[in-house]
């Protein structure tokens, strides 16, 4: 089902970016813990929060204040744009480059002329992507643990919530990855796939914020994948983990099945 030669080659090609993303995400999580512990941000935030109009206070809710605790900062760290952008780059880059991009460059024609099934290729690529993404998530976990150890907060270590957040983040990224696979399997230009997948992701991201900010269109939140990843809410212990996992897994499976099938049937180059 998988081809180790292909997996090794793709993995080696992206190893330096993986190491960079791993270190950056880990350092970012250490920074989050440092900021909360060292700068007494909770006190500052509460004063700041009390100055907002009541409607805004209601909108921001307890999640806002909660994220200025150590655990809240950790959760915020997993929802920060830096982390999301780095993981999204990986989720989009791999299928865009290795399917549509390699059709464009002609290298996929060479690979497909060899005794390897197309399904093995796509599945192997998915395995690499899933592995690379989980490694970066583990970088985040590691950063959190190191940060909490440095500042002697480890007795409050929210292991279950942290696992849920990391797993949820991984699945969110795999969902982004799966629709990039789908777009890629219909295309023959890597850059175009990257732009389209990034555009869709941005659309989902802003739809999520619009639905949160504008009560009249709050129903739209069900149609954005970012609604199924709320680390602050998970950190507060609210039971949304299973729902998030089910929705994201189903979406991912549907996109992947269509993408793999289309790639199997398509012309190379087509």
């Amino acid at each position: 089902m998988i081809n180790r030669n292909y997996i090794y080659n793709v993995f080696r090609e992206h190893l330096s970016f993986l190491i960079f993303a791993f270190i950056l995400v880990a350092l970012f999580q250490i920074l989050m813990v440092t900021l909360v512990v060292e700068a007494d941000i909770l006190n500052i935030a509460q004063i700041f929060f009390s100055k907002f109009p009541p409607q805004v206070q209601q909108f921001l809710g307890e999640e806002f204040i909660a994220q200025f605790s150590v655990n809240g900062a950790v959760a915020f760290g997993y929802n920060h744009l830096i982390v999301l952008i780095f993981l999204t780059i990986i989720a989009i880059m791999l299928p865009a480059k290795h399917i549509a991009g390699e059709i464009e460059s002609g290298t996929l024609e060479l690979i497909c002329s060899l005794p390897i099934k197309r399904l093995n290729l796509t599945f192997s690529l998915w395995i690499v992507t899933a592995f690379v993404l989980i490694i970066v998530v583990i970088g985040g976990w590691l950063g959190t643990i190191i940060g909490m150890l440095i500042y002697q907060q480890i007795s409050n270590f929210p292991s279950t919530q942290l696992f849920q957040i990391g797993f949820n983040l991984w699945l969110l990224m795999l969902t982004i990855n799966s629709y990039t696979f789908l777009i890629s399997s219909y295309s023959r230009e890597g850059n175009r796939v990257t732009l389209r997948a990034a555009g869709i992701t941005l659309f989902f991201f802003f739809l999520n914020y619009t639905a949160k900010l504008w009560i009249d269109v709050s129903f739209l939140k069900h149609f954005t994948i970012f609604n199924y990843y709320q680390p602050q809410t998970l950190m507060l212990g609210q039971p949304i983990f299973v729902k998030n996992i089910v929705v994201l897994s189903l979406l991912m499976l549907v996109f992947l099945i269509i993408a793999f099938r289309k790639f199997n049937l398509r012309d190379i180059p087509g």
Partner: protein, 296 residues
């Protein structure tokens, strides 16, 4: 035994014709030429053989087995060189060959022989592919396609970019292959090349096979060329029966002879002739005839 058997193969790119109703077979130990200009359907046919493109209609049998979509067992026995050989630019040649060889179960037993025959230096082999010249990249492609000693080599315009010396070395490699009982399917628009190395040829035009013959038979069947040089240039080129004027340079006229030669000779007597030449028919003439056929 037929190594390749293609029946009524049709491929459209949406509404644009790729190939239509293409049928031919290639026997074991044969060097088969697939001749046609750019856009005639050579690459489409080859990509269909390699299961890279999906046919709209028709069937392909390789090594006596009808090929179904996504079957890969037969690819082990095939060496493929695409028309645009575009390997990973960042890889050195040697790494590329090693990487690709890992997908095959057959060892690259001919690599060193091919490197030597094609005069591929170790310096070229260790350079990144993007820094290699077009010709050197093409040599790398030939090594990639043949190093595992395949039973069938499918080569799409293999001599593109090769200098004449390397071309000769490549032909030697093909003949050695053929002597070893291997089959070669070679596409080209270089007529002397096909004439030189192939046993049989299929000519494809506008997606359809217009001729499928042994090279020698094809030469005999097709029109011969006649070059007439007159003593003086005349205002209107002489129109000869059974012949079609090809070109006129000063007092020199080239014709395709298409019919009865005795009638033609009788007409020629009446002209102020300085010289007459009947050159040996070659595929260039055959090619021109096929491609100008529709215009006439």
């Amino acid at each position: 035994m037929s190594v390749i058997e293609v029946k009524n193969l049709t491929k459209y790119y949406k509404k644009v014709l790729g190939i239509e109703d293409v049928s031919f077979s290639v026997e074991q130990g044969e060097i088969f030429g697939f001749l046609g200009p750019n856009g005639a359907g050579k690459t489409t046919t080859i990509r269909l053989l390699m299961d890279l493109l999906r046919p709209d209609h028709g069937a392909i049998s390789l090594f006596g087995t009808q090929i179904k979509r996504n079957q890969v067992f037969y690819k082990e026995k095939i060496g493929y060189l695409p028309g645009d050989f575009l390997p990973y630019g960042e890889m050195p040649g040697v790494k590329f060959l090693k990487y690709m060889a890992k997908y095959r179960t057959r060892p690259p037993e001919l690599r060193q022989t091919l490197l030597d025959k094609l005069n591929f230096t170790s310096r070229e082999l260790s350079q990144k592919i993007k820094h290699l010249s077009h010709g050197t990249r093409q040599k790398l492609g030939i090594i990639f396609a043949l190093e595992h000693n395949p039973d069938l080599a499918i080569l799409d315009e293999p001599t593109s970019g090769l200098d004449p010396l390397v071309q000769e070395a490549f032909y030697e490699i093909l003949w050695d292959f053929q002597k070893g009982g291997k089959t070669i399917f070679l596409s080209s628009h270089i007529l002397p090349e096909v004439e030189k190395v192939c046993h049989r040829v299929a000519i494809i035009r506008d997606g359809k096979i217009v001729a499928l013959e042994e090279i020698e038979k094809l030469k005999q069947k097709r029109p011969r060329r006649l070059i007439v040089t007159l003593k003086n240039k005349i205002e209107n080129p002489p129109l000869l029966p059974e012949a079609r004027l090809l070109e006129c340079i000063e007092n020199r006229y080239s014709y395709f002879v298409e019919g009865n030669i005795s009638e033609l000779l009788q007409s020629l007597i009446k002209l102020p002739i300085e010289d007459i030449v009947f050159p040996e028919p070659n595929l260039e003439d055959i090619f021109l005839d096929y491609y100008s056929g529709s215009e006439n």
